[in-house]
Symmetry: C2
Subunit: 418 residues, 2 copies
């Protein structure tokens, strides 16, 4: 980090002023929080205050008393598309293009196989290569390899910056992460989408680390297909169902490799032959996990009256301030930011490399590993997470993280590394 | 139905005596129930009494206070295999062969594609036909068609009775339902499994309508792969995650089409290359839906000290008694049982065909449709369900349904049809 130093008192005072001026500060009351500085909302969002009572009602009344009637009377059956429409404005999508359900991995599979079929149906019958972000969260790569194997494609990997040069007539589909899970780097969705389209292929975007953190603009940028999880910046709870976006004009040609009875045009007709439903519903598969799904629905109420643009502005202010505090507090050379300095390349997290190879800061045992540093931070009430082998990740959720949290996190980190 | 009639008082008295002698009667207290006669547990099981407080704890304490720490400290990460081991004895499986997660449809896909790969790896490289139960719950057929398409197989359909004759050197995998969702017919799992094995192919059994209702004997009968849902006779709640059984000696060769990071040998190693975990964990995919999954775990506690054999004995007594009451109360010709009379061919439900083509029993509008009959039954506190076009289904869950419920259901049905 830089050699700049500022007295701790100055930065703490700055934090207080920034919090006092923060128009989103009151949103913290929409969550159940304590005095922990929780910077792991990029892994599991905090509990929204509306969720416990809602879940209790779903269990005790909807399931316990209405039982089977709730599929109609409590709106269970239509929850996947209804909640999809609640997520839609957060990622820049008009209604009717998103369904919620299954895990991100399963949705990546649906989207990638469907993308290959779209490319081939559109006259690219000889396209035989799936191109995937080489820095992707691993599961996307594993699933992409399976999708390639099942559709007779080769799997090609390229860093996002090298994707334009790797595109060609063989490209059947491209899978990209909007924000790198490890470094927090934000990729250029509009430009990369345009490049993939210029090569005649559809693109699938993984929004796990951007949905709810920054504007995505799915419709505006003509994205074909997208997936994302809901338990990070959307605060849906552990393992809450993922979402799948299918652009409206592609829906009639969306040919899912997982055509379950929930995506049938007439699900209770119990027909032996499959006839896909119109619209985003075509992306459903089996019976939705109602408890997790309706917890997510309650969680999304924290977004009432909140604009993603305001969230993004605060997110950048938070990560800027964190980098400033780390530079001021942490002795030079102890950590190194992997997160781009440019706003246009930064998601809503900061990743610090904290390698035992960097100057040691421990006692008799020698250098502290990154894993040990994160353990000590957690003990002292600053929760981030660790990613193998040497990365400390700090996620900044503007809905409930304030500037005092940021200053505290950097200060405690400095004390541990001192 | 038969022309036998018995005075209602006699049957009501019989019901009272049977309930008084029922060793499982006290289990009803393990559920939240009211005065409704709930005969739809084959679609959505009733709420177990332990679930609401458990779910509240998962939400408020595990998610709300421990947050990310719960992946370790609250046992979230290992829930799929831990809960799989809780289901195992109910379907005759030794530990370490079942994981819970995803929907039944998604698990059918994993199992069928893996089954085709097993057959081909075992020297059947030219096997190119997936054989599926023609009377299957529709989603299995849709998924089987997709699995066939993606593995270069043809899809062949046959009634379970005709499966032995349809097997051959081309058979790559067979998908069968243990109990027919519509008629309640129980198929001969040991004999059909042996027949498929004799043809050199693996078999996938769908246990949705048998798990928790009758002994399955997966290990004893050498079943290769099986899937099942947990929200029917296992009472896991709406859309609770399904399960996947992979026989121990096949696990090292189980080659999933959905290899997500949760099935990686080192999930937090974040390796770009996939290396499957050993054991049943290989059947996992993405992040498990913890709320639904831990509700299921609490729900499974109702099985403490309960044998599936005792449940089966009561189930047969309940369905026998229902058929007897219907025969006694309902005027001849108004309904017709689609459920086999032989115990060896009967699941835990009774399906009555109630067609407008049968003698009318309505007022000015003419005959009552089956759908209307079920609506009136529900209004009068007897809840079953309707399956297109003319089937009334009544599920008998021995854990909370008694003989007085059975007598009431038949009596109210008779009054509606009178």
């Amino acid at each position: 980090m830089s050699e700049t130093t500022a007295p701790a008192g100055d930065l703490a005072a700055r934090a207080g002023k920034l919090d006092a001026e923060d128009e989103l500060a009151a949103l913290r009351d929409r969550f159940v929080l304590d005095d922990v500085t929780y910077l792991d909302g990029n892994s599991l969002g905090a509990l929204p205050a509306a969720v416990p009572d809602r879940v209790a009602d779903v269990v005790r009344r909807q399931w316990g008393r209405l039982r089977i009637r709730s599929w109609d009377e409590s709106g269970w059956w239509t929850a996947p598309e209804r909640i999809g429409d609640r997520i839609a404005p957060l990622v820049g999508a008009a209604p009717g293009q998103i369904v919620v359900g299954d895990s991100t991995s399963v949705n990546v599979f649906k989207a990638l196989v469907a993308a290959v079929r779209l490319a081939r149906e559109a006259g690219g019958g000889d396209r035989d290569e799936i191109l995937v972000d080489a820095t992707t969260f691993p599961t996307d790569g594993y699933i992409a390899r399976s999708a390639a194997r099942l559709t007779g494609c080769a799997l090609r990997q390229a860093d996002p910056a090298e994707v334009p040069g790797a595109l060609g007539e063989r490209t059947a589909a491209v899978l990209l992460n909007h924000v790198d899970y490890r470094t927090g780097r934000l990729h250029d969705l509009p430009a990369l989408t345009a490049a993939v389209h210029a090569a005649g292929a559809p693109v699938v975007w993984d929004l796990c680390h951007s949905a709810g953190a920054l504007p995505v603009g799915l419709d505006a940028h003509g994205v074909d297909l997208a997936v994302g999880c809901t338990y990070k910046y959307l605060n849906g709870g552990p393992g809450s169902p993922a979402f799948l976006y299918v652009r409206r004009d592609l829906q009639d040609r969306f040919d899912s490799p997982l055509p379950g009875w929930n995506s049938h045009a007439e699900p209770f007709g119990m027909r032996p032959d499959y006839a896909p439903a119109p619209g985003a519903v075509r992306g459903r598969v089996g019976t939705p996990d109602i408890l997790s799904m309706l917890a997510l629905e309650a969680a999304l109420e924290v977004w009432d009256g909140v604009s993603v643009e305001a969230v993004r502005a605060k997110s950048l202010a938070l990560t800027d301030f964190f980098l400033e505090c780390v530079a001021a507090y942490v002795p030079a050379g102890r950590v190194e930011s992997l997160t781009p300095a440019a706003h246009s390349e930064r998601g809503s997290q900061v990743a610090l490399r904290c390698s035992p190879g960097l100057p040691p800061s421990a006692g008799p045992g020698g250098a502290l590993t990154a894993e040990e540093v994160m353990r000590r931070l957690t003990e002292r009430g600053v929760v981030g997470d660790f990613r193998h082998p040497d990365v400390l990740r700090f996620g900044f959720t503007p809905l409930y993280v304030g500037f005092a949290d940021v200053e505290r996190a950097a200060r405690v980190l400095a004390e541990i590394l001192a």
